[in-house]
């Protein structure tokens, strides 16, 4: 992990609330894996001050670029939208632990809410390269926010949508959808990001069906390198509760361990 000024090659609005940034990562000598994240400086001055964590949306190893899909939420992400192609953004990483994709898995389930799909899209890309079939359930406020659907389909994923707008995204509806999928498809592992209530649901269903599951957590971060203990979560290990760092021990955890 190191901090590198990377050239922005594209930074475009893709829907009402989401933006997509592509950077030239040819200076990066580290391997990057789905589930890991980078800390970006959202400007060159002191306000906004702290870096913001962004998971990797796409890794283009051949052309040596990285892509980030981000929700415009506060001062930092607003400032990031002002970055133009040709400008440099300071990128620190790669950070955190990646998803684990076992070779023997043939079909995996992805369950994402909102910008959580950015993290799972990188995994879908990896899965496609390994010949693993991905089945994705995307949850969003509206159809307009289901922005990564085409990208996922491009990776050969089967994509299902649920939205608040259409009244299909509440937990009971997603439960019915998931139970149907788990009955019909030979799903061997599940992955989630972006919603506590959906993660809780998946935690329960994964346990019932005996499927290993992983979660990528999101938390407010200070240093993102494990020294400040700002981004913590509780995990259950050997019958004991432990408070661990999302930036260092995570952001990807076995779902059954995480206290949601």
């Amino acid at each position: 992990m190191k901090s590198i000024p990377m050239k922005v090659t594209a930074n475009q609005q893709v829907s009402e609330r989401y933006w997509h940034m592509k950077v030239d990562a040819s200076e990066l000598d580290a391997e990057v894996s789905p589930g890991q994240f980078f800390q970006l400086r959202c400007g060159h001055d002191l306000n906004p001050l702290l870096r913001r964590p962004f998971s990797i949306y796409r890794i283009n190893r051949r052309e040596r670029t990285l892509e980030f899909l981000y929700l415009v939420k506060g001062a930092g992400t607003k400032r990031l939208t002002q970055m133009k192609a040709g400008e440099y953004v300071d990128v620190f990483g790669p950070l955190g632990t990646p998803f684990v994709l076992q070779d023997e898995w043939k079909t995996i389930l992805l369950l994402a809410r909102g910008v959580g799909i950015a993290t799972l899209a990188a995994l879908a890309q990896d899965a496609a390269e390994k010949g693993v079939q991905a089945v994705a359930i995307l949850s969003a406020r509206s159809r307009n926010d289901l922005l990564a659907a085409e990208t996922l389909q491009g990776f050969g994923a089967k994509v299902l949508y649920v939205t608040d707008e259409e009244g299909t995204s509440d937990v009971s509806a997603v439960r019915r959808l998931l139970e149907g999928l788990l009955r019909e498809d030979p799903i061997q592992a599940a992955f989630t990001c972006g919603s506590k209530r959906l993660s809780k649901l998946l935690q329960e269903l994964a346990a019932t069906h005996g499927i290993p599951a992983q979660i990528a957590l999101e938390e407010h971060m200070g240093c993102a390198m494990g020294v400040c203990f700002a981004c913590v979560c509780d995990v259950r290990e050997g019958g004991q509760l432990k408070t661990v760092r999302v930036c260092k021990e995570g952001p990807v955890f076995p779902l059954e361990k995480v206290v949601l």
Binding site: M1, S3, H220, G226, F229, V232, T243
Partner: protein
């Protein structure tokens, strides 16, 4: 003047630091080894240690404010046994002094922990985090009360000859009064200062933006307040001062040195720029070469407070 002719060595009591830049406790840890060479720092200062393991505070533990950051980590700690067995031995591999930051809930506990930690030969000095609440008092921080500060340092002074640095809280009416009390108690140096008590509210959810409601403000937003406090403390004590609060670059560090700091700690800046401490050191060297300053100590407290038009025609 060449860079290798510069003398950056400074002293805090009997402790000699190879250079005046070191991390602030809580913003430093073993994980930073991958990013910077610790041997180029003035000292290493691991996160404050408590006697017993502590879970820390509720999340969110940090939030950003204009040019600042509020945190309420709550000293998540693995306890003194882990510290003695793992943390202190880890830092053996570095040549720079190890300063142990101690947080305790009573004067007796400060003395007990100090005796144990100072007993480790690797520990060069103790930084007493007197900003923590005195549970045997009224729950206010030790460092908010001159008598409690004096008593605390005096008790710890009895158990070790190693340099004691009192980390003052800025949340007081008179920082000079507390600084004098720490000096009378027998401190060898003063850290000015810990974070400034603060609060931020999300107007949409109407909730505090910190899980613990209140937190400590750090970052460039607090620097002018800390520079003022360094200046004030330097006026009344002869103790060496470690400036701490909002240093982002070499200019900020030099400002603190001119106000009266002998050394400077860097916290939040390392989160923004992981190599900040080494960058700051390089900028200080550049300044010294620019102005032909051979010894960094010659700058300590050298702010010129005469009339601004003095000497002008």
């Amino acid at each position: 003047m060449m860079a290798d002719e510069l003398n950056l060595q400074v002293n805090i009591g009997s402790l000699t630091l190879p250079c005046p830049i070191m991390p602030a406790s809580g913003a430093f840890g073993e994980d930073m080894e991958a990013i910077i060479d610790f041997n180029r720092l003035g000292a290493v200062v691991p996160k404050s240690i408590t006697k017993h393991p502590r879970k820390g505070n509720a999340t969110p533990r940090v939030c950003e404010t204009p040019s600042g950051m509020i945190n309420s980590i709550g000293i998540q700690s693995k306890g003194i046994e882990y510290y003695m067995e793992h943390v202190i031995p880890y830092y053996r591999r570095y040549q720079v002094p190890l300063i142990s930051s101690i947080s305790a809930e009573s004067i007796e506990e400060f003395a007990e922990m100090s005796a144990i930690i100072a007993g480790a030969k690797e520990v060069a000095a103790l930084e007493l985090n007197i900003s923590c609440p005195n549970l045997k008092g009224n729950g206010a921080a030790f460092g908010m009360d001159a008598q409690a500060t004096r008593d605390l340092i005096r008790e710890v002074r009895q158990v070790t000859k190693k340099p004691l640095i009192a980390k003052l809280t800025p949340n007081v009416t008179s920082i000079q009064e507390i600084a004098l009390a720490a000096e009378e108690g027998g401190a060898d140096g003063l850290n000015v200062a810990n974070t400034i008590l603060a609060m931020a509210i999300d107007i949409h959810s109407r909730k505090p933006r910190i899980g613990n409601v209140l937190g400590g403000l750090s970052g460039p937003a607090v620097k002018p307040i800390i520079v003022r406090m360094i200046y004030q403390v330097h006026q009344v004590t002869s103790l060496p001062i470690i400036g701490c609060g909002g240093v982002m670059n070499g200019e900020d560090a030099l400002e603190m040195i001119l106000a009266g700091a002998t050394a400077v700690q860097v916290g939040t800046a390392s989160f923004v720029q992981p190599t900040a401490m080494l960058d700051i050191l390089e900028e200080i060297k550049q300044y010294m070469m620019q102005y032909g300053i051979a010894d960094i100590q010659s700058l300590v407290g050298q702010v010129v407070t005469g009339k601004h038009n003095e000497g002008e025609s």
